[in-house]
Symmetry: C2
């Protein structure tokens, strides 16, 4: 039994510095909870001169990552640089040498978890990644342990703080996507190139990780259908409100019979749903299991200290395993290979905003197209606009997506229809 467990950090950026700050500032309580001191033995970063929010003994800083990976005294390697390469190589090499690994890297786990996780398991090593989804929110460990008795049926998550901030501001202040994006960029909530967030790539990584755990079958991130929020308008926000919904970027994973389906798309969420009150940069992950029913996890999806909290939780768990010679005790659980379905298997209600000419029988013409395609209508709102235009908002009953897509194609082709302004799925 070791009294001191040495941790080596690769990447002294936002998340790495947060984790180090927590390990240093809460050092005593962490030692008591683990039964061993957790010592930050080495930190590698290309930049070791810029001041960080936590100051450390300069002698532990290095620009050579091998000073961490190859140091025989280091028990746990923490990777917080992000991206697939060279992070993947660093982790693989660490595991090869026999180090346990903690990572915050959603892209890497989503893209290469299928190789890395069994690689760790074969060596009876821990490879933990709680911070990869939901920032500081406990979600990976609850899924792998607390809820492990359940057959998980569905996950719906607001897992990207930037887009949730943008949608919340659009709703609260009636501003356009472009205006709020600019504000978010000025505040540092959105990147100069916002695509990873607003186009749903980040959320797709995260839902592929969650779905793989939930459904015990690897979800290939390239098979996660993706729609971003760039097409969401202030009109959609207003209609959502009027109809009793809010618009959220949801990452959805569903089990359908023995197959599974994962997608990221803007969605109408009923105002009474627990996810509807997850606002601003917060994340919320809603899970439905066959035993527990519905649970939701809520908290900060990003940030130095929040993600650091998750990383340190993993370090503590790994350290407890080291003390009990039990590393690898919760291995990768993707023991099945399920089929991944496409969007043609989705059945849901839909919100559709049609821009048409304000002429007699326009509404009837569109309604007939829906009916021809077996899409039945729950409600319809028509507003007269300037210049002889009409905006007609449709809320459908549950419909199969192929039927809906056929209907929309046919509606778009109607001479009186100018455009399909928006189509947003309703998630209830």
């Amino acid at each position: 039994m070791e009294d001191r467990i040495n941790v080596g950090i690769i990447g002294f950026g936002t998340v790495g510095a947060g984790a180090v700050k927590i390990l240093v500032e809460n050092r005593n309580s962490i030692a008591r909870k683990v039964g061993a001191e957790i010592n930050v033995a080495r930190i590698a970063d290309l930049d070791i001169t810029t001041p960080r929010p936590i100051s450390v003994d300069p002698s532990i800083l290095t620009t050579n990552v091998n000073d961490v990976i190859e140091d025989p005294s280091i028990d746990i390697v923490v990777e917080t640089i992000g991206g697939t390469s060279p992070a993947g190589e660093f982790i693989r090499k660490s595991l090869e040498i026999g180090k346990n690994v903690v990572t915050a890297n959603k892209e890497l786990i989503a893209k290469e978890g299928a190789g890395l996780l069994p690689f760790a398991a074969e060596r009876n090593l821990d490879l933990m990644f709680e911070a990869s989804v939901g920032g500081g929110i406990p979600i990976i460990r609850p899924l792998k342990s607390c809820l492990a008795g359940n057959d998980i049926i569905e996950i719906k998550g607001i897992v990207n703080g930037t887009t949730n901030y943008i949608l919340s501001k659009m709703r609260d202040e009636g501003l356009s996507f472009a205006d709020v994006l600019k504000d978010a960029q000025d505040r540092g909530y959105a990147e100069a190139n916002p695509s990873a967030d607003v186009d749903g790539h980040d959320a797709a990584y995260k839902i592929s990780i969650l779905a793989s755990i939930a459904f015990t079958s690897r979800v290939d991130v390239t098979k996660v259908y993706r729609e971003g929020i760039t097409g969401v308008t202030t009109e959609d926000m207003r209609y959502a409100d009027e109809l009793g919904y809010v618009i959220k970027l949801l990452a959805v994973a569903k089990k359908i019979d023995d197959a599974m389906l994962a997608y990221v798309a803007p969605a109408f969420v009923p105002q009474s749903h627990p996810l509807a009150s997850v606002n601003d940069v917060f994340n919320g992950i809603y899970v439905r299991g066959n035993a527990v029913g519905e649970v939701m996890f809520y908290g900060p999806g990003a940030g130095s200290m929040a993600a650091g909290s998750a990383v340190v939780g993993d370090i503590i768990d790994t350290a407890r395993n080291i003390r009990h010679a039990a590393t690898g005790r919760v291995p990768c659980t993707c023991y099945e290979t399920r089929e991944t379905l496409g969007m043609e298997s989705v059945r849901c209600k839909n919100y559709i905003r049609v821009l048409a000419e304000d002429k007699p029988r326009v509404l009837a013409a569109i309604a007939n197209v829906f009916a021809d395609n077996n899409v039945s209508i729950e409600s319809v709102l028509q507003k007269i606009m300037p210049d002889n235009a009409a905006e007609i908002v449709w809320l459908t009953h549950e419909a199969a997506e192929p039927n809906l897509r056929s209907a929309l194609d046919a509606i778009r082709a109607l001479p009186v229809v100018k455009a399909i302004g928006s189509w947003i799925r309703v998630e209830e």
Copy 2:
């Protein structure tokens, strides 16, 4: 490494039957996640004849609890009978013999955890109790592992489904406490003797368990201040709504400097707070840590399958420890002894409803008493009632509870005041 882990169940009631149902119906997936079959080897209950929601081989049923505890093939004893005695004796005896234990027993852990948990730890055995708080919601393990890097500052929980159902109905339907209680009793949501729920005993057990983990110091449940919901009126509900709040029975634990404080009381919660949208029989537990910031856990606080889900999660975790010879790897972490403060240390905003005579200067007279006691006022509403009466509703700024109590005593003594109708703390 064992390929089959035998579980013995004590108590084949709601929770026990739920756990057995999950273990049987999800048997294959659980085996794959653990790497060993989890076998329900024996079930003890005084009643082994009434049909349960899951049918089992009658030969494993017994009315003699020692057939479970003393069976050498049983690795994990699951206690779901509730109450302190004989459950406590059964658990202690199981630990003495070297069994790991999973329990759903909040009252026992709250009252006797201080003895039982170190007793298990000394023997390197698991004694897990995830189902004791929040039903199916993962909260104990997230606190002990995922959030273990945090210094936890505060917990606010809606941890009693019965009272949350009652308060939700009172609000939504404008009904009185008595009417909704009767309805809840008819539906089986409330006991014939509802005191454990409506007087806050159940919530007090739960917050003492959560606070003990969060503050790494045992919180004696007899030191948890307790106010129930029997005094909450439909008028209070209306005023709360008007002022932007909802009324919830909150279980609160706070760290104040090095000391701690825990109480259960109805509270005004801002409508924008994540706890405000936790309705009906659902539970929500909001946790604030110095690293993670705010997180919340939401889900079903009771029910056969929900509590069963938590019990099975503990069984799976214990089974993984057994397979790796690592039982006792997360022991009791109450390694400190903090002072438990009384309500005199509370500082908060307050809602006060005063019934007075409708005479000139009544409002000024009451306002003067508040001022004399250093309680400053944020807002005041006065309504004229029939019979020359007035109802005056005060919302104070943050005030020290001793000052507030002095003010209320003095107001009650004013000749023009008929009664203090309600006093409810505001938790922001």
